[in-house]
């Protein structure tokens, strides 16, 4: 009898395991919160793009952006840059949080952030700056 119970558990657990593995094959990124963040970031990118190109701002290794060289900014943009960077970073952090939470694993937030950090840099245009262990590097 015990043998039966035991093998039943083994089979049941094997089945459960495989279904969980399958369930983890894709991440849902179409929640309303994520869509809202995406369009907010998309709109802001028009303002940020020239500053990436001039090297005034760069991509950090933790998936955010930072002011790298304020002297590369035209005078008219110097005052607003900190608020612009802060708004972008707030959206980015929320995005990582929402992706993790939206898929039922809030504890994945850090890994989502790390994944994004690498992908932002991979997809950056040449001439943009990104952060490495030693400091800023021009792509």
């Amino acid at each position: 009898m015990q043998k039966f119970i035991f093998s039943f558990f083994v089979v049941a657990i094997t089945l459960l395991n495989s279904s969980w593995v399958n369930a983890a094959a894709d991440l849902d990124v179409n929640t309303p919160a994520i869509s809202a963040l995406k369009s907010s970031m998309q709109a802001r990118h028009a303002q940020l793009a020239p500053h990436y190109a001039s090297g005034a701002i760069g991509l950090t290794k933790d998936g955010l952006i930072a002011v790298r060289d304020a002297t590369a900014l035209p005078l008219k943009d110097r005052q607003g840059i900190n608020a612009l960077v802060a708004a972008e970073n707030s959206d980015r952090s929320l995005l990582y949080k929402e992706i993790a939470a939206g898929n039922g694993h809030p504890e994945w937030q850090g890994e989502v952030r790390n994944t994004f950090a690498g992908r932002w840099i991979d997809k950056a245009q040449s001439g943009w700056y990104f952060q490495q262990d030693g400091g800023w590097v021009k792509k």
Partner: protein
Amino acid sequence: MNKILSLLALTLAVSACVTINIYFPAAAAEKAADKIIDEVWQLKDGATVPASKPAETPAK
């Protein structure tokens, strides 16, 4: 004895289960990241805006 063994096996199996359940789907995350970055940076439609467009023909 048999009972203890099967309990032990069950505990192991359940913990293995939990381990798999919290495994981070790195490949899926990269795919999701690419999709979002393409949209935010508008890399797919219209591609990148050329920095200096030769609008006028240079004077000779």
